[in-house]
């Protein structure tokens, strides 16, 4: 198996690992980190597969996509962290309530 697709497999691994953490952990910081791990997995898949063809130079388009994706991830993370801080300020816990308002 070629190294690129090996990286891609690692990416898949990160994706599912992140998903697991996202579901299992209750603390918001962990959830946010988990989302970021998932994102890194996806980006890894994108760039890794871009270099599948050994002879040619890697495909630039996925790289551009990843850069865009990273910026999006940064923005989302920033917003999420700010929200988390406010949630903690309001509810005293950086967790989502199990019971929902009705």
């Amino acid at each position: 198996m070629s190294p690129p697709s090996l990286y891609a497999l690692v990416g898949i691994g990160l994706f599912t690992l992140g998903l697991y953490a996202l579901i299992v952990h209750t603390h918001l910081l962990r959830k946010i980190l988990a989302i970021n791990v998932m994102g890194s997995g996806v980006f890894l898949v994108l760039v890794a597969l871009a270099a599948r063809a050994r002879e040619a130079a890697p495909d630039p388009v996925p790289h551009a996509m990843v850069i865009t994706g990273i910026v999006v991830a940064v923005s989302a993370t920033a917003l999420a962290l700010a929200l988390m801080v406010r949630v903690r300020a309001e509810t005293g816990r950086a967790e989502l309530p199990e019971k929902r308002p009705e």
């Binding site: 989302i35 998932m38 989302a76 917003l79 309001e90």
Partner: protein, 482 residues
């Protein structure tokens, strides 16, 4: 360079104008309100221009940067996207007028840029022909929506927004992984090209699964709906309106596009499952709505139920079924926006939205109650209303396809809707004598709600026209409308 009216790319304008408006509102917070309103009217004009173009000249494809697919990104407008844009424009205008009176200065400063960014994202999404570009619009949409929910402040809104953000990110990541697989399978991102090159393979199946799952999560299809009610019910009224009316529809639209153009080769089997989930959503959402004690929660669960209808067409798959689905989508957008606005008025007036204590309030806001009732008629699917036309088309489709059991779901859903709508309307008729006291709710807020509700009713009387528009570009496949 002569830019005649016909030559102006109105679609692109509809994307850029709100973007510019958002920047303007951000740069000059003091004039946010007037700037925002002007932009709103401008966007409506642009959409009207595009609609006229599409009707006159047929589908529009516009290569941004002049490169064209596969290298560049194309913007594509057919009947389907135009209808989505028009619904967005109408609801958007209503929301803008409503918000102009709803938000106090300090909130308005934050509201307008976010809302205009969101509007731009919606227009971009409905016009995009590129699956990665769709991802970017999805994220722009999602973040703006979350920020708007949080605008309400308070524990409910913040936790609701947090949950919403996590869900929305999860959904878009799943979608993005699907995009990666599709790109690396076929080396292009343009929907039309993908449709040409599409051939089943493990990677494609995985992509279909991931993208569908992600989008279903964002569309809040039962049982992935858990995040919707808290977020929609705790947001400020106009935000609830635009979330329920437009934002959830955006991810559904992408699903529909992919389903109709890219996936059909591979995903036929998934249709029945989606239909079943939709049916479950209709019943579960209806029952939950009936159980609610607070008006906004009731409306939010009604959204869960109404979203379920949208998936009944997947197992049917006929043109009539898709038309019915789209018609339901349009009329629900109008009606639900009106309902949330009406709820907002009630909250503003009475300071609470406990259903059992509505009577006094309802007495004094006749226009608001009327708006709620008319919107309710469409939600129930009673004639004359857009909801009725949609239900008729879906029933007909189910009948013709011989899958009569979907008819039962449609009927039951309608009865449940009637139950929870009248649970509210009943409180408008009490012995409390009408007193003409100074009204705490600005007239514009009442009329905005009423106007949208009337539009939902009107949609039931002009059906041939939207149905004809839907045919442009045959988004629902070859055969003409039944």
């Amino acid at each position: 360079m002569a830019l005649t009216i016909a030559a102006i790319p109105w679609g692109v304008m509809a994307i850029l104008l709100p973007l510019v408006g958002a920047l303007a509102c951000f740069l000059s917070p003091r004039r946010a309100n007037p700037l925002g309103l002007v932009t709103a009217f401008g966007v409506v004009a642009c959409v009207a221009g595009l609609a006229w173009q599409v009707v006159a000249q047929g589908t529009q494809r516009y290569a941004i940067g002049g490169w064209g697919a596969p290298l560049g990104i194309d913007v594509y407008a057919d009947g389907l996207s135009v209808l989505m844009l028009m619904a967005t424009a109408v609801v958007g205008l209503g929301i803008s007028v409503y918000s102009n009176s709803y938000f106090k200065r300090d909130k308005a400063v934050n509201f307008w840029p976010l809302w205009l960014f969101l509007w731009s994202a919606l227009n971009a999404l409905f016009l995009s022909a590129d699956i990665f570009n769709l991802y970017v619009t999805l994220e722009l949409l999602g973040l703006a929506a979350v920020a708007l929910v949080a605008l309400a402040g308070g524990a409910d809104a913040l936790t609701g927004a947090m949950r919403y953000l996590l869900v929305s990110l999860l959904g878009s990541l799943a979608y993005l992984l699907g995009v990666a697989l599709l790109y690396h399978s076929f080396g292009c991102l343009d929907i039309a090209l993908l449709a040409e090159r599409m051939e089943p393979s493990p990677a494609v199946l995985a992509a279909v699964g991931l993208m569908s799952a992600g989008l279903l999560l964002k569309t809040a299809l039962f049982p992935l709906h858990f995040w919707l009610p808290p977020a929609h019910a705790s947001a400020p009224a106009p935000v609830s309106a635009l979330l329920s009316a437009l934002v959830v529809k955006a991810s559904f639209y992408i699903l529909l596009r992919l389903w109709l153009e890219v996936f059909p080769v591979t995903a036929a089997a998934l249709g029945q499952l989606l239909g079943l989930l939709g049916a479950a959503a209709v019943l579960w959402g209806g029952l939950q709505a009936l159980r609610q004690t607070r008006l906004k929660m009731l409306i939010a669960y009604s959204t869960v139920a109404q979203l379920g209808y949208l998936f009944l067409a997947f197992p049917l798959g006929s043109t009539i079924a898709w038309q019915g689905t789209l018609y339901l989508l349009l009329s629900h957008a109008l009606a639900k926006a009106a309902m949330f606005m009406a709820a907002g008025n009630v909250l503003r007036f009475g300071g609470h939205d406990r259903i059992v204590d509505l009577d006094r309030v309802a007495q004094r806001l006749p226009l608001t109650v009327t708006a709620f009732a008319l919107a309710g008629v469409s939600i129930m699917g009673l004639p004359p209303s857009g909801g009725f036309i949609a239900k008729w088309l879906l029933l007909e489709a189910a009948m013709l396809s011989g899958q009569w059991w979907w008819m039962i779901i449609l009927i039951l859903g309608g009865l449940l809707a009637a139950a929870y709508v009248f649970k509210v309307i009943g409180y408008a008729f009490t012995r409390a004598v009408m007193t003409h006291e100074a009204r705490a709710v600005p007239a514009t807020m009442e009329w905005a709600a009423l106007a949208l509700a009337l539009a939902a009713i009107l949609l039931g009387l002009v059906a041939p026209w939207p149905l004809a528009l839907m045919e442009i570009g045959l988004p629902f496949g070859g055969e003409a409308a039944g």
